[in-house]
Subunit: 135 residues, 3 copies
Amino acid sequence: MFKKVHVFRVRPGEELLSNIARYCREHGISSGIIIGIIGSVERARLNFLMELPGKYESVDYPGPLEIVCAQGSVALKDDSPIIHIHIQLSGQDICRGGHLAEATVLSTAEVAIGELDYHLRRQLDSYTGLNELID
Amino acid sequence: MFKKVHVFRVRPGEELLSNIARYCREHGISSGIIIGIIGSVERARLNFLMELPGKYESVDYPGPLEIVCAQGSVALKDDSPIIHIHIQLSGQDICRGGHLAEATVLSTAEVAIGELDYHLRRQLDSYTGLNELID
Amino acid sequence: MFKKVHVFRVRPGEELLSNIARYCREHGISSGIIIGIIGSVERARLNFLMELPGKYESVDYPGPLEIVCAQGSVALKDDSPIIHIHIQLSGQDICRGGHLAEATVLSTAEVAIGELDYHLRRQLDSYTGLNELID
């Protein structure tokens, strides 16, 4: 179950992913589910997996764009937390989603994280070339 | 944690946002996380933030469109609940998401809300011109 | 509330929906909320509701595509669990979402399911022609 549901705001001009990492560090969250993120960004970089093992391409998107939604997790690799988030962005003329590399908040990002009562763990998967969840 | 997870349906022809508000009022939900919404709409109006402070543009989308997903929260401003939802819509030829202003349900909208065991609060932020979450 | 939050991986080459069904069967999950799915697919089939009662069109999407997010539920119809998922997919050049008919995993699909402490139920709705949630 979720032993605690954390809800917090990332503010204008702040980088989204590093501020989520900072919140998790300050609140001792080592394993959790990103239940949702909504808000807006002034710019964002998304990664797209092109082929295995682990070949990504990065694309920069200028804002303003709505953060429509986001999902993902906080999990331990060895003893360090890895935050893995996919995010959906949209304006009136474009709509794209992918692996969140970085994003600068425009008005707000409202983040909800469900902290788990057990540990999620990742390890390198030689087939995909990525740090994958261990069941 | 979520003291209760509410799951309910909004029916054909009903307006989505006002029916979520009504459900929250009838069930005494003053603070919660919109975990998800899926279904379909026959029309929807989305808002897009264009610049700060708080300048939005509204766009109407005719359906039928799938409700792919939605996220957001129920939070108190003063003592009144504010429901803030971003929603992703898609058809075969168009895909857009943004701030849910209103939408009319086509077949169904299946709504899941996690009711929090503490209060979320909003207040006006003079920089963004919007009612923002207070940490 | 969520009596348990299940997090698991569907692996490269596996079909997403049938593997979620298998996980639920093996872990005795008869009612729950799909909190999220992220990852990537090498192909996917989405259904789009065109008109009532229950007329869908299916579209196949070749990958690689990111699984940006997904939402839905596990609910009982009579005594059999039905898994209903809407999923958002995106590449650099296309972004679509809809009812998940089937999808083949590329690198991973990280699935989070909140198991409910009560039963969700569906029954056929003669107006929509679909199995709809019962409040």
